[in-house]
């Protein structure tokens, strides 16, 4: 790929304290090409791209732009070089509008006075590229996670950069938004923009990538063409074969429902009734904004509902009371680990232990030894990659953080698992660990309700699929008969909604 | 420049004042410092910012920092007793100035009489109103001894004037800015009030600002302290009278007495520094001194 590289990371290294995270890695970005970074959770992908984004400076090695060595000490410098970055974790100001967020740091102005019309125009143009028709004056905090992710993408697109970095932009998106994003990427390719793309969805790599750089443990492993076989990619990435990506072991479901929801309504949720029996995994599918998150939060006690009831094992639960739900055996893995799942400054052990702290305490005293032992155990099972169990969870990679949230409820012995995009940002190997834990829970008589935008996961791991559309359950499919088309036709059963979300 | 030696420090003493955020006490300190300089005493001044506990801390420090004697202007009469315990224990001579210190055994108490002064102030206002009318009282920091004692004096003084009615009594915390707002509001509520009795000059001056043109004409104001600004207001005719304490004199005499006490000489147990009613008649004697 020789000398026409737009941007080169040349033998860069990076350590955090005593831990070497990137070890002499070389990656090239070419004009009009998509360079994929592939690696397990914690392999160092985000750290690598943060060197280009001006967040971290490499300890050793060089960064070359157009063949010339450059320094990128901060984000301004990165932007000045024509680099735009979509970070893995959302970086939006919730209290500000979509337009303000998209133009953050570079509002159109004259003598310091903001030109609001121009600001809105920039935002609208960026949103149009993604085919989004949201009101640009909506505060970002009112949007769902997927929409926020799209705003983040729009923000980067509006920079008109020469190099665009996309760190797991598709993790929170459903098929149709991903398709939109990819068409934008293709347009940019044609315009000669060089891109770096990170994703744990292997199918996306062949679709959009040109070549793949594989990292393992912070070391460069290989560069291969994007059409390399998936199994080969997995082997390069994890250093071993993975037998089954979706190892679902179905169990004969029990008679009595473990979780039953009756006529639940609130806000956009309309008269939802569903039952999940012991041993079952039920998937919730639907388009972005269909109300899956809202439903799961209502069942978990995280939000109020105006009518209807939730019962576990036939016992009715108080509305809007997470503690009561937890005691009844409900475990909730929320949509956004950063804002809803984790106390970032607390240790891995503490984060895993929150749901068991009170129940294992003796006369008010925390069982410190036991808590740590339990956390250590589940961390090993899930192969959480961390400095130590006492390291702040902030220092873990995104996928490993996600595993910790999951581990919390496994440790707590939750009988009813409510999962909202449970494997968002989790690598293929670790997904299998999570799926095996799901099997274990159902085998021991628990049940799982799982909202997922990942079709393979829905098809591979569930026993039944409930499809939501505009706050209703539009229909139910047995997993064997669920195909992408069948699900989509139920999901879009309300056309008006589809138009409003701008996903057509 | 203090505490150089470890012994034989008959030359150093501590003055603990309640607060220096008030010109009255600044004058008192200046009087004390000038006299200390003249006598060759190394005087260290600490300011409790009107907090009894801070003062207790400062007194405890004074007991161990090599001072040969202590002058105290107590934040509060009652608590001073406990605060002074370490000083008493250390056997240092104590002179109380301006405010009493309860039953503590002290060498001398140098003060003007707040109760008597309050009575004089009330009389001065009543007289200027020809013994009748509605008046407003401005109180000092709630719970401060000066507030309670002057209040007592006001009551005594007003008792003789049956036709004077106190329509409102509110605190402005001895503070000029606060008095400005409080009086503005009170005059709104009581437009027919013709007199304001303030527990110090600072509040009286705030009241005068609030009254604007009415000060000294439609509404008479009496203050307390005899600060420079207070005298100026008497000269201008906006303040009917102020009860002049002589803070510099209080400071000066307390140092003189402490110096004697340190040397082991006999001192007077009670030194009354005169309190004068200063009004247009005698202002010439005070102003511009």
């Amino acid at each position: 790929m020789g000398n026409d590289a737009l941007l080169v990371l040349d033998k860069v290294c990076k350590s955090f304290g005593p831990v070497q995270v990137i070890d002499e890695v070389t990656v090239e970005v070419h004009a009009g090409k998509v360079s994929v970074l592939l690696g397990e959770n914690g392999a160092g992908k985000s750290t690598l791209i943060k060197m280009i984004a001006g967040v971290h400076e490499p300890d050793a090695g060089r960064i070359l732009m157009d063949g010339k060595a450059v320094k990128i000490p901060n984000t301004k410098a990165s932007e000045a070089l024509g680099i735009a970055t979509i970070h893995q974790e959302l970086n939006l100001v919730p209290s500000m509008t979509i337009a303000e967020n998209i133009t953050l740091g570079r509002v159109p102005r004259k003598f310091g006075i903001i030109n609001r019309r121009a600001m809105r125009q920039i935002a609208r143009d960026a949103m149009d590229k993604l085919g989004l028709k949201l009101d640009v004056d909506t505060p970002v905090g009112e949007l769902g996670l997927a929409q926020q992710q799209l705003v983040e993408i729009a923000k980067a697109l509006s920079l008109d950069a020469r190099v665009l970095i996309l760190d797991e932009p598709t993790a929170a998106l459903t098929k149709s938004e991903i398709a939109h994003l990819f068409s934008v990427v293709n347009t940019l390719k044609a315009q000669g923009v060089g891109m770096v793309f990170i994703s744990h969805h292997l199918d996306e790599i062949a679709e959009i990538g040109d070549f793949v750089n594989v990292l393992r443990d912070g070391k460069f492993i290989a560069t291969v063409p994007a059409d390399t076989e998936e199994n080969e990619l997995v082997r390069l990435m994890v250093g071993r074969d993975i037998d089954a990506q979706f190892p679902r072991v179905a169990t004969e479901p029990g008679e009595q429902p473990l979780l039953s929801v009756k006529n639940l309504s609130d806000g956009m949720l309309k008269d939802i009734s569903l039952e999940v029996r012991p041993g079952e995994v039920v998937a919730l599918a639907g388009l972005m904004g269909a109300g899956r998150t809202e439903l799961i939060r209502a069942i978990a006690g995280a939000d109020k509902y105006s009518s209807g009831s939730v019962a576990v094992n036939g016992k009715k639960l108080a509305s809007f009371d997470v503690a009561a739900a937890t005691r009844a055996g409900i475990g909730h893995v929320p949509e956004d680990r950063k804002t809803q799942g984790l106390v970032l400054d607390a240790s891995v052990a503490e984060n895993i232990g929150y749901a068991t702290m009170a129940s294992t305490a003796k006369s008010g005293l925390v069982d410190r030894k036991g808590q740590k032992a339990r956390a250590q155990q589940v961390a090993e099972r899930l192969r959480i990659r961390m400095g130590s169990i006492d390291a702040p969870i902030r220092s873990l990679s995104g996928g490993n953080q996600q595993k910790a949230v999951f581990g919390r409820w496994f440790t707590a012995g939750a009988k009813v698992l409510l999962l909202d995009e449970p494997t968002r940002g989790v690598d293929v190997g670790a997904k299998v660990e999570i799926y095996e834990l799901i099997n274990e829970i159902t085998a021991s008589g628990g049940c799982v309700l799982m909202a997922s935008s990942e079709l393979p996961e829905v098809l591979g791991m569930s026993d039944r699929v409930l499809v939501m559309s505009q706050g209703r359950i539009a229909g139910e499919l047995a997993t064997e008969e669920a195909t992408q088309d069948a699900i989509m036709s139920l999901a879009v059963s309300n056309v008006h909604r589809e138009e409003e979300m701008g996903t057509k | 420049a203090c505490n150089r030696g470890t012994e034989a420090e008959a030359g150093s003493a501590t003055l603990a004042v309640s607060t220096l955020n008030n010109p009255f006490f600044v004058d008192l300190r200046d009087g004390a410092e000038a006299e200390a300089e003249a006598q060759g005493i190394d005087l260290s001044v600490v300011d409790a910012q009107n907090d009894s506990a801070t003062q207790a801390n400062q007194l405890a420090t004074a007991a161990t920092n090599g001072s040969a004697g202590l002058i105290i202007n107590a934040v509060d009469t009652e608590t001073a007793e406990a605060g002074l315990a370490p000083v008493v224990e250390a056997g240092l001579p104590i002179v109380a100035v301006d405010r009493a210190v309860g039953d503590t055994k002290i060498a001398s108490f140098v003060a003007s009489d707040n109760v008597a002064g309050g009575e004089q102030a009330a009389k001065a206002l009543a007289e200027s109103l020809d013994g009748k009318g509605k008046i407003i009282v401005l109180e000092g920091v709630p719970g401060a001894s000066a507030t309670n004692e002057r209040g007592e004096g006001f009551d005594k003084g007003l008792a003789e004037y049956k036709d004077i009615e106190v329509v409102s009594s509110q605190t402005a915390n001895f503070d000029r800015a606060e008095a400005l707002d409080v009086v503005t509001n009170l005059m709104q509520a009581n437009p027919d009030a013709t007199g304001i009795l303030a527990m110090n000059d600072e509040m009286a001056l705030g009241a005068i600002q609030a009254l604007g043109d009415k000060a000294g004409k439609d509404v008479k104001v009496v203050g307390f302290d005899g600060t420079e600004d207070g005298f100026k207001a008497v000269e201008d005719g906006t303040l009917v009278a102020t009860i002049a304490q002589n803070p510099a004199e209080l400071g000066k005499q307390s140092v003189q007495i402490l110096a004697k006490a340190i040397k082991g000489e006999e001192v007077e147990a009670n030194v009354q520094v005169a309190v004068d009613t200063v009004d247009e008649k005698n202002i010439a004697e005070y102003a511009g001194e």
């Binding site: 301004k76 970086n91 939006l92 500000m96 004056d137 | 009594s169 000029r176 509520a189 600004d229």
Partner: protein, 322 residues
């Protein structure tokens, strides 16, 4: 895409209005109650009084709004008001500089104090609470040192700030002008937007290339300048700069901003809200004085009303969300 894009606007949305103006409801109820309780409340002169009395805290709170929007807090405003007033008077009355310099000097003192606080927290990495607490003490100490604990007469240009402009008292004129200015800067300029961004999500602001440190320094300078203005209004009304001027006012100023709907965790705040917050406080004080409530009980009532006023605001906002 040539569409009209945005959602249809549905006339005047009363609920949304309440949501944005929760404290206003509290204020209106308060005024109604006072109107019923005493005929002295709703009179021209009394309203002017309230206007004058609210001006000091409100002007101070305008500046504070910038700091709070940027997720900081400025405890030093009371002391800065005093030092600025003292400095502006000292320079003329004692040091003999020309009178015309008085107000500029006062404002410069305020800006300088704000700059120091801002720099301590931006470059020295001190939490703003600590940086401004340190300044509270240092600046009050300097005021006492300069004045030797005595009041200084104000220069004639500062005195003028306490006078009338025709029928309207100057403090009210300044209140209105500085309020409009503050609202403009906060909502329409890059300075204001950057403050919102930094307060709303510092990390996102930094990653978007916003100069977070400079923004922090700027909001403190703004706060310092408004505090200085407020101090000079106060000195103008008293015709004298007091060493104890405005002490303890910081809590009132912060309360005004928060009653006005700002969040201490940053990213939210409005100048109009702040004004309403300051009015709530001023009206309570005025009303309790009018009703001659005893000084001790006044404090009890003021505290309760603060809680209730903010409570209303919280209630409104919740109702609208769901």
């Amino acid at each position: 895409m040539s569409s009209v894009a945005t959602a249809p606007k549905k006339g005047f949305d009363f609920k949304a209005f309440l949501a944005n103006n929760g404290a206003l409801v509290g204020l209106v109820i308060l005024c109604l109650a006072l109107f019923i309780a005493t005929p002295r409340f709703l009179t021209g002169p009394n309203l002017l009084n309230i206007g004058i009395q609210v001006s000091t805290i409100a002007v101070m709170a305008f500046g504070m709004t910038f700091v709070i929007v940027a997720a900081g807090i400025d405890l030093s405003v009371g002391s800065v008001a005093a030092l600025s007033a003292m400095g502006s008077s000292y320079a003329i009355t004692t040091a003999g500089l020309p009178d015309g310099l008085s107000i500029p000097i006062g404002l410069a003192v305020g800006a300088l104090c704000g700059w120091v606080t801002g720099a301590m927290s931006a470059y020295g990495k001190l939490p703003t609470f600590i940086a401004s607490l340190a300044m509270l003490t240092v600046v009050r100490g300097l005021t006492l040192v300069i004045s030797d604990g005595r009041p200084i007469s104000t220069s004639s240009s500062v005195s003028w700030l306490g006078d009338d402009l025709g029928p309207i008292p100057m403090p009210i004129v300044i209140l209105v002008v500085s309020g409009l200015l503050a609202a403009f800067v906060l909502n329409r300029t890059v300075i204001g937007k950057n403050a919102f961004a930094v307060g709303g999500n510092t990390e996102a602001a930094r990653l978007s290339g916003i100069p977070v440190k400079r923004v922090l320094v700027t909001v403190f300078v703004i706060s310092g300048v408004f505090a200085a203005l407020s101090g000079m209004i106060l000195a103008g009304r008293l015709d004298s700069a007091q060493p104890t001027l405005a002490s303890g006012y910081e809590l009132d100023a912060i309360a005004a901003v928060v009653i006005g709907g700002a969040s201490l965790s940053g990213g939210v705040g409005r100048i109009s809200g702040t004004l309403i917050g300051a009015l709530v406080l001023a009206v309570i004080r005025n009303g309790l004085n009018l009703l001659s409530v005893s000084a001790f009980w006044q404090q009890v009532v003021i505290g309760a009303v603060i809680a209730i006023a903010v409570g209303f605001d919280v209630l409104r906002r919740k109702n609208v969300k769901h």
